[in-house]
């Protein structure tokens, strides 16, 4: 008899946490409303650490990880949808009734472009990419980002200006 091959990995719990938090938020708000990603990430953190008292990752570690996971989830989704719209995929993507009235179709393209620009940014300086991830995808404040990345505020502000300039130059060239 074969034992099931275990392919569980740690992202599961994290994704689950993020999703649960999202569902709760969405119940509270109108469908189609935008999410407050900061609140989301924090809620996921509280949930997961409450799940198992021992499982508490250091908060900053968790937030850093969660912002990467958020980006992954959102960009993955955008790419799937993008593929479907180009007629490339056969998956039924329009599962969500609300998305027919599609306030998000422009966002799909934007997010893919943002992701691409951020990767380019990472080539210039990986710190900038991480910073942009915290700010854009986890919606963290500067103060919060400084804590999570353990960076002094002054240099973080300077880097944020750099990141903004490069992203703007890439996304919206003059």
């Amino acid at each position: 008899m074969t034992a099931p091959i275990q392919v569980e990995d740690g992202l599961d719990a994290l994704y689950r946490g993020l999703r649960l938090a999202a569902h709760r938020q969405l119940r509270r708000y109108r469908p189609g409303a935008t999410l407050n990603t900061t609140a989301l990430v924090h809620e996921a953190w509280i949930r997961l650490s409450a799940d198992d008292a021992h499982a508490a990752l250091p908060r900053d570690e968790f937030l850093k990880l969660a912002s990467t996971a958020m980006r992954q989830l959102i960009v993955d989704y955008a790419r799937r949808r993008g593929a479907a719209k180009r007629g490339g995929g056969a998956l039924a993507l329009e599962l969500d009734a609300e998305s027919h009235s599609d306030p998000t179709s422009a966002s799909v393209l934007d997010v893919v472009a943002i992701d691409f620009a951020m990767r380019e940014l990472g080539r210039l300086d990986p710190e900038l990419e991480r910073l942009a991830e915290c700010r854009l995808f986890a919606g963290m404040s500067m103060q919060e980002t400084a804590t999570v990345l353990q960076r002094p505020m002054r240099s973080l502000e300077r880097d944020w200006s750099r990141a903004r300039a490069y992203l703007t130059d890439a996304l919206n060239p003059a």
Partner: protein
């Protein structure tokens, strides 16, 4: 001449971009009003730079709107994305058929993949497979291509202990999948406990695992995810490894820079039982990562427990333990009650043993083996899984295991790191290649500027240089992650690739020679002297077959052979090569002649033929100064002359000259360059010989920092530097520090098999000297006898080093109360020193004082006073009366003369 190479343009672009970024960053620090003015100042004659920075400044000004839009887009999508990727979103579970296989039942499910049992049934032929569908979205041609490439490589793996990869692809819906051999087995840990295997039987299984991992490593594949659920054992007791290389595919995704994709290593954060420190911190994954995971497996199979006392289901504390805690000793751990509820009796019973017997068995060797495999720093683990396997075999054959010797060395190394310097963050080997290339091109362009007679040749060479450069640049190109499968390509791999390509050149002998020659230089820069030597020899033998004779290239190859032979410790052979290079070189090659003369001079210094060395170096200096002052080669000659002066105890002249050499190199290469370090280290030694150890330490410390960073921690040049640093620490009275440096130097030298080189002798001599200072005469005598033997072999019967080592050995013998031997050794030393330097050299003076000590031991006070006074006079003359050793010696001789001969003579601090 062909037009500028496209790669060169690309390089310029990158350079311009980096300059723009740094200027832009600088401007951001200023108040907005002042930016324009500063920008104009900085870009007076660089309009393109100004344009880029201007563009960035404007982008920054209007960035709020763009960033707001971006942020809105993200937030808008977040809601749907998180909602949809929940239970009802597109999932790989929707896949029902892959190729000819029908997916019949789900056998595993997780965050990164779903595994199915697949069956193919076309009437007569029935086959069961495992199908792993990845939760990854692949939608670009490029990533599909990369995925296929990866699959092709994995499919080529064939080993009885490896679950074969049968096929793979991407479903029409975009889900990548792998089809693998279906393995009917259970995880290795469960199997061992179920069968109640004893330690020996468990080690058998581990060896099977090691063999198959080794098989894959030899094909440059790292598993990255070794854990019991990936290591199954079948009913017949055969190990089957699953998922080789798949973790890599999962990680690589579509990005070309896997180290930026933090998801995977951090994704494991929550269940990291088998993850290595480097995976948790997102550092480079290598074969050492698998060594670590095998260490955890071994630990668990032997003790039934995790190496860390942290709870496995408590990621935060486990995470911390993996990064920081030293694993608990096996033999202690096995006696502990585990939080998981395992009691020692059960654990022992599952191993067909009792707790105390089991603990006894694990104590010592097996414990040490686990510790070495589980070290935090990948570089400190077993160098390969094969080495881990060997050590387990040694344990089973009751031979001493390397891990225990290694552990002692490791503790030394840790001491060293704590006390001497921080660990260098990154090893930037490829820089060495770039440097070699740059030097080559640099050399050729210098040649181009030479007199008109050389112009034609220079042009040919420049063309060749360009051809070679583009060839080498091509090698770097080929190291893009698609081809290297995301691993960091090391300089050595590039080099090997280059060599393979050079050897494959069929129809262009001149190009092949030039390639082998340059690759030999690269090899040399990487410290691979034996290989460099072979490459140059190959170039030489090909040159003989090239019809059009290129004397300059011929001479270059010969000169390089001289350098490799020199580094390999074959001094007389080096000398011959240099002489033939000089004889071959055309009249016009003045700068080259100067360089070769310098190298020949250095051989003469090392073999203590100082007068000839001086003549050669002066000739070189004259040629170089006629050519152009303040070149790199000029600095080399000054460096050699300075070293010569220092050996002749002309301290202030030596220091001046070396200082000038440092200044030239600083101008040419900057501080952060091995070429500057070399000169700096010689300056350090000259300062030390002049009695200024503190100043010496500053120079050597800097040289060491730079070389460690650039050349990496095991380059042979570091062996020399560590040696020199040890002399400084000894002079400062820090014997332990000196020993630690020397231990590291010896380790490096042994790694390069430099067993019989002057450098090795110097390290052994240093150890002997240090032990003398600690009054451990037996050890000192041991090391110094070895040093003497190598000196005789490598440097001949008459060298300064031999004289010094003989004198030191004499002191050790005297410490062992073997006075007659001591006297004979010292007389030989004196003889050599007088022959080399005449009667008035400081070394001679010092040996006379030492001899006075020996005579005093024998009770011959009158002769002692006579020798002592003679030696002292020389020392006062050459070193000055105020150096501590000289004044101590004076006081001692004074006490002898006044009839008070209670105290032994002082120990010298002059001999280096």
């Amino acid at each position: 001449m062909s037009p500028a190479h496209p790669h060169a343009q690309e390089g310029q672009l990158v350079d311009q971009w980096l300059r723009a970024d740094s200027l832009f960053t600088e401007l951001l620090e200023l108040p907005v009003a002042q930016r324009a003015e500063r920008l104009a100042q900085r870009c007076v004659d660089d309009k393109p730079l100004e344009a880029i920075v201007q563009r960035l400044l404007r982008a920054e000004e209007r960035s709020s709107a763009t960033l707001d839009t971006a942020s809105d887009a993200v937030q808008a999508l977040a809601a749907v994305a998180l909602h949809q990727t929940g239970d009802d979103g597109p999932e790989p579970e929707s896949v029902v058929q892959v190729g000819p296989y029908q997916l019949v039942s789900c056998i595993g499910k997780g965050g990164s993949a779903v595994v199915w049992r697949g069956e193919r049934n076309d009437g007569e032929f029935q086959q069961t497979v495992a199908v792993k569908v990845l939760r990854r979205w692949i939608d670009s041609d490029d990533s599909v291509r990369r995925f296929r490439e990866e699959r092709r490589i994995l499919a080529a793996l064939e080993h009885p202990n490896l679950a074969r990869l049968l096929d793979g692809g991407v479903t029409p819906d975009g889900w990548p999948y792998f089809i693998m051999e279906y393995v009917d087995g259970i995880p290795i840990t469960e199997y061992c406990d179920r069968e109640r295997l004893d330690i020996e039987q468990r080690l058998d299984l581990v060896q099977q695992v090691i063999k198959v991992v080794q098989y894959a490593h030899q094909r440059l594949l790292v598993h990255r995810d070794l854990k019991p659920s990936n290591i199954l054992v079948t009913e017949s007791g055969q190990v089957k490894l699953l998922d080789f290389g798949i973790a890599k595919v999962l990680q690589a995704d579509t990005d070309d820079s896997p180290e930026h994709d933090l998801t995977q290593p951090h994704g494991r954060l929550l269940t990291p039982a088998y993850a290595s420190p480097e995976q948790l911190s997102g550092d480079r994954v290598s074969t050492a990562t698998d060594v670590y995971a095998l260490g955890v497996l071994l630990y668990r199979l032997l003790s039934g427990r995790s190496p860390y006392r942290a709870q496995e289901d408590a990621p935060a504390s486990l995470y911390d333990a993996i990064l920081r805690q030293v694993p608990a000793a096996l033999s202690i751990r096995v006696l502990e009650d585990d939080q998981a509820g395992l009691c020692p009796r059960e654990v022992a019973a599952a191993r067909d043993s009792t707790p105390s017997r089991l603990a006894r068995m694990l104590r010592g060797d097996l414990e040490a083996i686990c510790q070495v495999a589980l070290r935090k720093d990948p570089e400190h683990r077993y160098a390969s899984v094969e080495q881990l396997g060997f050590d387990i075999e040694r344990y089973r054959k009751q031979l001493p295991v390397l891990a225990r010797a290694g552990n002692r060395r490791y503790r030394l190394a840790r001491f060293l790191r704590r006390n001497a310097w921080g660990v260098s963050a990154a090893v930037v080997l490829p820089l060495a290649i770039v440097t070699a290339l740059a030097l080559h091109v640099d050399r050729l362009s210098a040649e181009r500027d030479r007199a008109a007679a050389a112009a034609k040749l220079a042009k040919q060479e420049a063309d060749k240089a360009e051809q070679i450069s583009s060839y080498l640049v091509g090698l770097f190109r080929a190291s893009d992650p698609a081809e290297s499968r995301g691993r960091d390509i090391t300089a050595v791999e590039l080099l090997e690739r280059g060599i393979a390509q050079a050897q494959a050149i069929q129809d262009d002998p001149p190009l092949q020679v030039a390639m082998l020659h340059v690759l030999g230089q690269v090899s040399f820069a990487l410290g691979r002297y034996q290989q460099a030597n072979e490459l140059q020899l190959k170039a030489l033998s090909l040159l003989q077959r090239v019809s059009e004779r290129n004397e300059t290239l011929w001479a270059d190859v010969l000169a390089d052979l001289g350098e490799t032979s020199f580094k390999l410790g074959d001094l007389s052979i080096a000398e011959e090569y240099y002489r033939s290079a000089l004889a071959t070189l055309p009249e016009t090659g003045l700068a080259r002649r100067g360089r070769i003369l310098t190298n020949l001079g250095i051989v003469h210094i090392v073999t203590s033929r100082y007068a000839q060395a001086r003549a050669l170096l002066h000739e070189a200096l004259a040629l170089l100064e006629e050519n152009a002052v303040a070149t790199a080669a000029h600095a080399t000659t000054l460096n050699a002359l300075g070293t010569l002066l220092s050996r002749e105890a002309q301290h202030s002249e030596a220091i001046d000259m070396l200082q000038e050499a440092v200044t030239i190199r600083l101008d040419l290469f900057g501080d952060f360059h091995p070429a500057t370090s070399v000169v700096r280290s010689n300056l350090g030694i000259a300062l030390l010989e002049a009695g200024e150890p503190a100043a010496a330490e500053l120079e050597l410390q800097r040289a060491l920092e730079v070389d460690q960073e650039i050349l990496g921690p095991t380059h042979p040049s570091l062996g020399v530097l560590l040696n020199q640093m040890a002399s400084v620490r000894r002079a400062l009275g820090d014997q332990e520090g000196a020993i630690a440096y020397l231990a590291r130097a010896l380790e490096i030298l042994r790694q390069h098999h430099d067993e019989y080189t002057p450098t090795m002798a110097a390290a052994l001599s240093g150890l002997g000297h240090t032990h003398l200072s600690m009054l451990s005469f037996d050890e000192a005598a041991d090391y110094l006898s070895q040093a003497v033997a190598i000196d005789e072999q490598a440097l001949g019967p008459q060298s300064r080093e031999l004289a010094i080592d003989l004198a030191l050995l004499a002191r050790a013998r005297s410490g062992q109360s073997r006075y007659e031997e001591a006297e004979a050794l010292l007389l030989r030393a004196l003889d050599i020193a007088r022959g080399l330097f005449g009667d008035e050299h400081a070394l001679v003076g010092e040996m006379l004082v030492q001899n006075a000590g020996l005579k005093w031991q024998r009770g011959d006070v009158a002769s002692a006073i006579e020798d002592g006074a003679r030696g002292l006079a020389i020392l006062v003359n050459t070193e000055g009366a105020e150096r501590p050793y000289v004044s101590e010696a004076a006081a001692w001789i004074e006490s002898l003369s006044s009839g008070n001969s209670e105290h032994p003579p002082p120990l010298s601090d002059l001999l280096l």
